[in-house]
């Protein structure tokens, strides 16, 4: 098997007395989707925050292509090639869709010293921007201010911003939440296409979606890994059955 692009070893995160993530290890491989499921409060978003550099782990280590990321500021982690989307939409509401995504694309090609050139005049950045907007299906909304769009469209924008940074690792925190049926289908389709040249971690409540697109699954409960393995193995696991009885049915919104 090839080497993991991103791997976490024994990650633990405490918030005061609360242990949100406890001794979690996982590997993300290029060309694979690693699904992470678990009830609310299981620590999935916190795990994402640790991997993306939003938060430092209390203990444990993270390796990107074999290099340990130790105390690296978030923007450095991001520019290494670890991109993420947020569960709670985290955009620039007053900016247009284009400008939101353009800022994400610009991050890779920051040119603070070419201050006499207009931000919109860099062909490479504009091209990446257009591609990302097209990929999530927002092309006809490019000029609309982000706050004026529906919740589902803002979720699509969130993903466009994530991929415009051209990361190698995608950490997607509940990308389908709040999307309509056709939007969600489009997104699953996009994720399976992105899979080819990305290592993806997908947190998702929609069981059908996550089982269909994932190559490997990790089930979290109370900050800990309850079980991990291929989708078939998770589906038939007794432990998961016990912890999740009926959970799959409730979650179909």
């Amino acid at each position: 098997m090839s080497k993991p692009v991103l791997s976490a070893r024994n990650l633990t995160k405490r918030f005061g007395g609360l242990v949100a993530v406890m001794d979690v290890s996982l590997d993300l491989f290029k060309g694979k989707v690693h699904g992470v499921i678990g009830t609310n409060g299981a620590g999935k978003s916190t795990l994402t925050n640790l991997l993306s550099g939003d938060l430092p782990p209390t203990t444990g280590s993270i390796f990107y292509k074999g290099m340990e990321l130790f105390d690296l500021p978030q923007h450095r982690v991001s520019r290494l090639g670890i991109g993420r989307s947020y569960q709670k939409t985290n955009i620039f509401p007053a900016f247009t869709v284009f400008e939101n995504v353009r800022l994400a694309a610009q991050a890779l090609h920051q040119r603070p010293f070419q201050f006499w050139k207009r931000a919109g005049s860099f062909a490479d950045v504009n091209q990446i921007t257009e591609r990302a907007i097209h990929a999530v299906g927002l092309s006809d909304k490019r000029k609309i201010q982000a706050f004026a769009m529906s919740h589902g469209e803002q979720r699509q924008l969130e993903i466009a911003m994530c991929i415009a940074g051209e990361p190698e690792v995608l950490l997607l925190d509940e990308p389908l939440a709040g999307m309509g049926h056709s939007e969600a289908e489009r997104m699953i389709d996009l994720i399976s296409r992105l899979k080819n040249d990305h290592a993806i971690m997908l947190i998702e409540h929609d069981m059908d979606a996550v089982f269909s697109v994932s190559d490997y699954l990790t089930v979290m409960v109370n900050g800990q890994v309850l079980e991990s393995g291929t989708p078939e193995r998770i589906r038939t696991s007794d432990k998961v059955q016990q912890a999740y009885l009926g959970y799959g049915e409730d979650s179909h919104v």
Binding site: Q74, H75, S78, R79, R102, L103, L108, P112, F115, A119
Partner: protein, 322 residues
């Protein structure tokens, strides 16, 4: 860039021409009053870069104004004119240094704390000049002759001439306006805009937010220093009042008056502020009431803030937008 002939552009062109021609027909008093407005316009634009474009509210911006002023005074010999290039570059260098030193610390704080820390740094500079003899203590220090703008003995501009001085500051205002305008439209400027709206997401996208803020703080401080330098040589006098929190608060009021996040708004706010100050502190017009000018100014600011959330420039742009 393409310029269309619209009523608005025509009005701006006429206004600029009139401002340019002002020394040709106006009395000395008014030319000097307008020089002061131009200088405060530069000062207000520099603070607006922080407040309006990065979202950093500073209540210590006068530190740069005062430091550069003192630098101009201390580098002017008593019986002859100093060298403009020397004292000007020294003043700006001091401001850059001060911005770097204080910015590294102040920018680790946010919102309310940033206001307090910037205020505290400015107060430190205030007390250094107020309580020591470096710059004449509380009485301040005079600049007897304006610095000489000359290259190898050939005088380029006669700054002692009030008309020349006016045009000189006018040129600086236009240049700084253009520089900031271009800067704000660049990658750098757009990144600042993103930081103002959502700093966290900018970091997640891969922007070194701290360095963007620090550089903006340094640019704002240096331009604030340019204003302080010209202010000092115009009046030939610097005192601790230039660094006091009154000065910081006044320039913040100019920015708010004009409408935050608009460069011409900042200049407009400065004009209104200075003219109003001139008007309501004029004893021949308002009698003893004039001594309460800051009270009246206060009411005016409150009224603008309440009824014109986008400042005075909001009055004009309301028609054109939406």
């Amino acid at each position: 860039m393409n310029f269309k002939i619209t009523t608005r552009n025509l009005l701006v062109a006429v206004l600029l021409l009139m401002l340019c021609a002002l020394p040709l027909f106006a009395e000395k008093f008014y030319v000097q009053l307008f020089s002061k407005i131009l200088i405060m316009g530069i000062f207000a634009m520099s603070l607006d870069l922080l407040v309006g474009y990065v979202g950093l509210v500073s209540l210590g911006h006068a530190a740069f104004f005062g430091l550069a002023g003192y630098c101009a005074a201390l580098l002017s010999p008593q019986y002859e004119a100093g060298n403009f290039f020397v004292s000007f570059s020294a003043a700006i260098s001091i401001c850059i240094l001060f911005a770097l030193l204080t910015g590294v610390l102040a920018l680790r704080t946010k919102s309310f704390y940033f206001i307090m820390v910037t205020l505290a740094f400015a107060q430190m500079i205030f007390f250094i000049f107020h309580d020591t003899k470096i710059g004449g203590g509380g009485d301040g220090i005079y600049i007897y002759q304006k610095p000489l703008l000359a290259i190898s003995g050939i005088t380029l501009l006669e700054l002692e001439n009030f008309k020349t001085f006016y045009w000189f500051t006018f040129g600086w205002l236009i240049a700084i306006y253009a520089f900031l305008r271009i800067l704000l439209q660049s990658h750098y400027g757009h990144a600042l805009g993103g930081i103002k709206v959502n700093e966290h997401r900018m970091r997640a996208l891969g922007y070194p937010v701290f360095w963007y803020k620090l550089s903006a703080y340094v640019i704002a401080g240096s331009i604030g220093g340019i204003a302080g330098y010209f202010n000092a040589i115009q009046f030939g006098f610097v005192n601790p009042e230039n660094i006091s929190w009154h000065t910081s608060a006044n320039v913040l009021m100019m920015v708010i008056l004009g409408g935050m996040g608009s460069l011409h708004g900042a200049v407009f706010g400065a004009s209104v502020f200075i003219l109003l100050q001139e008007l309501i502190s004029n004893e021949s017009m308002l009698g003893s009431f004039a001594s309460h000018w800051s009270l009246m100014m206060g009411f005016f600011i409150v009224a603008v803030s309440l009824f014109l959330p986008n400042g005075l420039t909001g009055l004009f742009s309301r028609g054109s937008k939406k």
